[in-house]
């Protein structure tokens, strides 16, 4: 736990001094304006929750794939990874802490969305089940931390921004953050069950609706479970990647 907190604290120090890294947050208002315009002017207030949640979840994912996944890549470029590997401790909790710290900032889009909805369109969704909503946010952050570690390890192997960009769009589609999953072709819908964001988006949308939310614990458990799978996968993947880097001599760039 100490190493996790050390990583988180260190990442927050870095982010505070590198505001450029927060540019992703500045893109959120544009997405909010775009989606809210369509929903409000078409009179589809039933899709208001979608329009609110999409920027939030896109922002969260953007952080995971952007800043979090680049944590390890930057370590490699600066040769800090080499120094870390020579330290008598496991690096996984440190990097998980760093990724998690970045994701805490992922809740900022939530606030931005609410503020813009109120200021520009005069509407905000009603939080009918706040407990469920915040539980879903918490579970999603946990799952995103696991996914962030997995992505970080993946990026270390394929240190190429193209993969990072490529991964985002299939996830946006399959998670139903942009378009409800039921609108997708039948053969794609089962795939969305493997994407934790689709469970997160569904649960959050239901928490914004007046009807009772069904199977809350089960759905939270699925989000946690998918996050845990990603976390274990990320840890193993990082372990294997670093072991391979030691064998191949690719811990640092020449």
């Amino acid at each position: 736990m100490r190493l996790f907190l050390t990583g988180a604290r260190m990442q927050l120090w870095l982010v505070r001094r590198q505001p450029d890294d927060l540019l992703t947050l500045c893109t959120i208002p544009f997405t909010v304006l775009m989606l809210m315009s369509i929903v409000v002017h078409s009179g589809r207030t039933d899709l208001l929750a979608n329009a609110f949640l999409a920027p939030v979840l896109i922002g969260l994912w953007g952080f995971a794939t952007g800043l979090a996944a680049e944590v390890l890549l930057t370590e490699r470029w600066t040769r800090s990874l080499e120094l870390g590997l020579a330290a008598p401790t496991s690096l996984h909790p440190v990097y998980l802490g760093r990724v998690a710290a970045v994701l805490v900032l992922g809740v900022v889009p939530l606030l931005e969305t609410w503020v813009l909805g109120r200021l520009v369109f005069g509407v905000t969704p009603t939080l009918h089940h706040p407990g469920v909503f915040w539980a879903a946010v918490g579970a999603s952050l946990f799952a995103m931390a696991g996914t962030g570690l997995l992505l970080a390890a993946f990026m270390l192997v394929n240190d190429n921004g193209h993969y990072q960009n490529f991964l985002s769009f299939p996830v946006y589609v399959l998670s139903g953050v942009m378009v409800p999953v039921e609108y997708l072709p039948d053969f794609l819908q089962p795939l969305s069950h493997a994407v934790f964001l689709s469970w997160s988006a569904d649960l959050m949308r239901d928490a914004l609706a007046p009807a009772p939310v069904a199977a809350v614990w089960w759905r939270l458990a699925v989000i946690f479970a998918l996050g845990a799978v990603a976390l274990v996968g990320g840890r193993l993947s990082l372990e294997l990647t670093l072991r391979r880097a030691r064998a191949e001599g690719s811990v640092a760039y020449a």
Binding site: M10, Q18, L83, L85, A86, P88, R246, A247, G249
Partner: protein, 309 residues
């Protein structure tokens, strides 16, 4: 024994299909006793940094064995890591957007120093390395010398018995480099073992108890800087502040002038004596015999290809 390396080999696969094999270390063996300052000298690509990486456990050897204080760097990597500190030269490995204090607090945690002790250890190192006044400034505002001192502080955070210094004075100005060498002396006095890679022959000559010349992944020679010069069989030099012509004297191989000083290369000590007597007889008062310098030995052994890669 601080470091024991036996027949260590390391190859890399390169090329698009990884079908090209590059030999970085070719059966290298080396002993570094505890509490010795040992220099690794060699041209770019000789294998110095590769050896440091193997000793610091971040790179696996392809063959052979390496031990740090009797601990195998592969089988007991975790134990080895508690014994070592690595210091890079230049600006690699630092977080520019952290302060020196934050940097050291971060690494203190990674070296498992309890929080209660970490603060004191960090303050102590900041004070010792002359960074206390700027401890809360961002690293990016530091001069090259300060960054290097921070590197050393980082390398010392875990109180290592073996310190690996990889070209630590690269890019430093002469004053900073001089101070840094003073610190190496202090660390040796504390009983630490130091392995230093460098291109700077003066540095190696001034701080190292022994040096090892490496080329193409193999050891060419290991000796004290003076011993290496003596056993090299290179000619001696006589230096004098004069314009007297000595070219015709027996045993004189050649002469050159540098900054008003006549440098006479002679075949051996007897020939040097002849030249010195000749110059003294002609009233020259500033004359001295100079053994070959480490740089001369280095250039002789590695074939004057220090710029090669």
């Amino acid at each position: 024994m601080g470091v024991r390396v036996r027949e260590v080999g390391r190859t890399y696969r390169k090329g698009r299909r990884k079908n090209e094999e590059v030999v970085a270390l070719d059966g290298l063996s080396l002993d570094v006793p505890s509490n010795e300052v040992h220099g690794l000298l060699g041209p770019n690509g000789a294998g110095k940094t590769t050896l440091c990486k193997i000793l610091s456990t971040v790179l696996l050897p392809t063959s052979g064995t390496a031990e740090v204080f009797g601990l195998d760097v592969v089988a007991r990597a975790d134990d080895v890591r508690r014994q070592i500190g690595i210091v890079f030269g230049g600006e690699r490995g630092l977080y520019w957007k952290l302060t020196a204090r934050q940097t050291l607090r971060y690494w203190a945690a990674l070296y498992k120093i309890p929080d209660a002790r970490a603060k004191g250890r960090v303050d102590e190192l900041l004070e010792r390395l002359g960074l206390a006044e700027k401890a809360d400034d961002l690293v990016e505002t530091y001069s090259r010398g300060m960054k290097q001192r921070l590197h050393l502080a980082r390398g010392l955070i875990g109180d290592p018995r073996l310190i690996l210094l990889d070209e630590p004075t690269t890019g430093m100005d002469p004053v900073a480099a001089h101070d840094f060498r003073g610190l190496i002396g202090e660390l040796r006095a504390e009983g630490r073992t130091i392995l230093i890679t460098t291109h700077d022959m003066d540095e190696a000559e001034s701080v190292c108890d022994r040096v090892t010349l490496i080329d193409k992944g193999r050891v060419l020679a290991t000796e004290t800087p003076r011993g290496l010069a003596e056993m090299s069989g290179l000619q001696q030099w006589v230096e004098a502040e004069t314009s007297v012509d000595v070219d015709g004297l027996p045993g004189v191989v050649g002469t050159e002038r540098r900054d008003g000083v006549l440098r006479v290369r002679v075949v051996d000590a007897a020939a040097a004596r002849v030249v010195i007597d000749f110059l003294l007889d002609r009233g020259v008062r500033s004359v001295r015999a100079v053994p070959p310098r480490l740089e001369d030995v280095y250039l002789d052994l590695v074939g004057r290809r220090g710029m090669g890669v």
